[in-house]
Symmetry: D5
Subunit: 95 residues, 10 copies
C-alpha cells in the first residue's frame, strides 16, 4: 500500500552538534535500510529546502506509523501523510 | 531532472458529457504515451480525490511546462510543481 | 484499517430537485448498506453544517477510494481523508 | 452528547524527561479511566503525528471542558472541538 | 447550553427577488420567535458585513442543529459553531 | 457601542508561577469590576481552549483600546476585535 | 471615531453594462458627498487592484454600518473593517 | 508617493526593560520627526493590538525602505507594505 | 523604480473564443510595446501555470497602476504587487 | 534554466553579533561571486522586509539546490523556489 510522506526537518540551533550529527547518521542508516527493504520506495530532496518527498510501500496504516515514529529525526520533523492508490491511467500497477 | 506535480481536476458540470468523455480518453492516451517514454515517471491517485501525485522526469523547466499545458484536461486542472533533486540518504541515483 | 473521512456536501442550486432527491435517496441506501457491512463504521452530522465526520473500516487505500468515488453524492462533495491507527492509550483494539 | 476532539501534543524539548514521563503516565491512566466510563468513547492515533482523533460522549459543553482541561498533558496540547449530532442516514442512534 | 454561531449570508444574484424577499421575511419571523423563546439569546450585526454574531441557548447539539437547518436562509449561509461554557471570572452564571 | 472581543491566552512556561498567579488574580478582579460596571457585558469560556468570547459595551474605539491594554494578562493575549451593531431582526435594542 | 475600511470590488461579467455604469456613477457621487461631509476622510486606490483603502470618521459602529451598506456597489464588495484609535506617538489628535 | 504600512510590534519578554524603554523612546522621537517632515503622513493605533496602520508619503520605494529599516523597533516588527495611488472618486489629490 | 508583479490569468470558459483570442493578441502587442519601452523589464512564465512573474521599471505607483489596469486581460487577472529596491549585496544598481 | 527564489532572513537575537556579522560578510561575498558568474542573475530587496526576490540562472535543480544550501545565511532563511520558463509574449529569450 502506497503513501506519500512529506517531511520537513527543523533541528533547533540549541541541539548539541555532536548529538545532531549522531542523529543524522542514524537517520541515514535507518533510511537506507528501509529503502533496501523496499518499504521506503522513493526519497527525494525538495530543492532549496531541508525537506523531502517520499513514497512508502507498507502493509498499512499501522506499519507506516511505526516506521515514521521510529526515525531518529522524527522529533524534529513536521510530517504529512497522503494515502495513494492505483490511478486508472497508470501503466504500472501499484504493488 | 525530477519534478513532483500535483494535479487536481475539476470538470464543470456544465461541460457536455460527450466532450468530457473525449477529453478524458485523450488525456489517458497522452498520459500513457508519456509514461511509456519515461517522462511521466510515476502517476498515483490520491485516495478520495479527483487528483493525482505525479513524478516527471524531463530535461528541464521548459519541457515540463510544454508537457503540462498540452494535457487535454489542463484547462480544468489546478497544478502545483515542486522541483526535486538527489537526497543525500537516497540509495537510488536521480536520473 | 481505519480512516477518518470528512465530507462537505454542496449541491448546486441549479441541480434539478428531482435528480437531487433521487441522488440523496441512493446515497442514504448505499451509506446504510456500507454501515450494515461494517465498512462505514461511524457516521455523524457536524452541527450546523451539511457535512459529516465518518470512520471507515476497510482493507486499505484502494477499497476506501473505490467506496468513496462510488457514492452518489461524491461529485458534490469535498472530501478529506486521515489515516488512523491504534493509539497506545486506547483500551479498544483497532480492528 | 457527542463531540469530536482533535488533540495535537507538543512537549517542549526543555521539559525535564522525568516530568514528561510522569505526565504521560498520568495522561494514559486518566484517558483509560474516561474510556472505561464511556466518556472518551473513541481514541485513535493519527498516522505520522503525535496527535489523536477522539470522540467524547458527555452531558454537554461544561463537562467536556472540565474533562479536557484536567488532562495532564493539556498545557502542551492544541485542541479543536467539533460538536456532532445524529446523521439522518446513520443506522446507529447517537447516545 | 450556550453556543456562539456566526452566520455569513450570501444570497446569489440569480435568486428571484420576490423569493428572496419572502425568505428574508420568514427568516426574520422565525428569528424573532426563537429570540422570544430565549433560544436565540443574542443577535448582532457585524459592521460592514451581511453577517451576524449570535448566542444560542439550547438543550444541546441536536436542538441547535435542528434550529439552524430550519432557518429559511440556511441554504445561503456559511455557518460556524463554537461551544461555550462558564468562564471562571464571569459574574453571571451560564444558564 | 458593542464589540465582540476574542482573547486567546498563552502564558509562557518560563513565567514564574507566583507572578503568573498574581496576574491571573488581578485579571479576575479587573474583569469582574468591568463586568459590574456593565462595560464587559458578557464573558464566556470557549470549550477546550484557554480562550474567551466577550462582548464589550463601551463609548467607542478609544475606551475599548484603553480597557484591553490595561488587562494584567494583555501581554500574553492574542486579541481580535469585531465591531457589532443593531441587527434588523433583533428584538433587543443595542444599548 | 476612525475606522480603516478595505473594499475589494468584484462586478460580475454577467451584470448589464448600463446597470454597472449607472451603479459606478452613483457610487462616485455618494462617495464624494461623504468625502465633502468629512465622513469618508481618505480614499486611496490599491495599486494593481480594483480595491481601495479608506479611512472613515463617523460617530460609531452604527453610522459606519449604515454608510457602508448604502453604497451602490456594496452588493459587489468584500469589506473588512479595522477600528482605529489615537496612537501615543502620533502628533495629530484623532478627531 | 503614498504607501500604507502596517506594523505589528512584538518585543520579546527576554529583552532588558531598560533597553526596551530606550528603544521605545527613540522610536517615538524618530516617528514624530518623520511626521513633522510630512513623510509619516498618518499614524493610528489598531484597537486591541500592539500594531499600527500608517500612511507614508515618500519619494519612492528606496526612501520608504530606508525609513522603515532605520526605525529603532524595526527588528521587532512584522511589516507589510501596500502601494497606493489616486482613486478616481477621491476629491483630494494624492500628493 | 522596480516592482515585482505576479499575474494569474483565468479566462472563463463562457467567454466567446473569438473575443478571447482578440484579447490575447492585444495583450501580447501591448506587453511587447511595454517591454520595448523598458517599462515591462522582465516577463517569465511560471512552469505549469497560466501565470507570469514580471518586473516593471516605472516612475512610481501611479504609472504602474495605469499600466496594469490598461492591460486587455486585466479583467481576468489576479494581480499582486511587491515593491522592490536596491539590495546591499547586489552588484547591479537598480535603475 | 531560470528560477525565482524568495528568501526571508531571520537571524535570531541569540546569535553572537560577531558571528552574525561574519556570516553576513561571507554571504555578501558569495552572493557577489555568484552574480559575477551570472548564476545569481538578479537580486532585489523587498521594501520593508529583510527579504529578497532573486532570479537564478543555473543548469538545473541540482545546481540550484547546491548553491542555496551553501549560502552562509541559509540556516536562517525561509526559502521558496518557483521554476520559470519562456513566456510566449516575452521579447527576450530565456537563456
Amino acid at each position: 500500500m502506497l503513501f506519500m510522506v512529506q517531511m520537513q526537518v527543523n533541528i533547533p540551533a540549541s541541539l548539541d552538534k555532536n548529538i545532531a550529527d549522531a542523529l543524522k547518521k542514524e537517520e541515514k542508516e535507518m533510511s537506507q535500510k528501509l529503502q533496501r527493504e523496499g518499504k521506503w520506495r522513493d526519497l527525494w530532496r525538495v530543492v532549496g529546502q531541508y525537506a523531502n518527498v517520499s513514497i512508502f510501500n507498507v502493509s498499512g496504516n499501522e506499519e507506516l506509523h511505526q516506521l515514521l515514529i521510529s526515525l531518529p529525526l522524527y522529533p524534529y520533523m513536521t510530517v504529512s501523510v497522503t494515502p495513494l492508490t492505483q490511478h486508472p491511467s497508470a501503466i504500472a500497477q501499484v504493488e
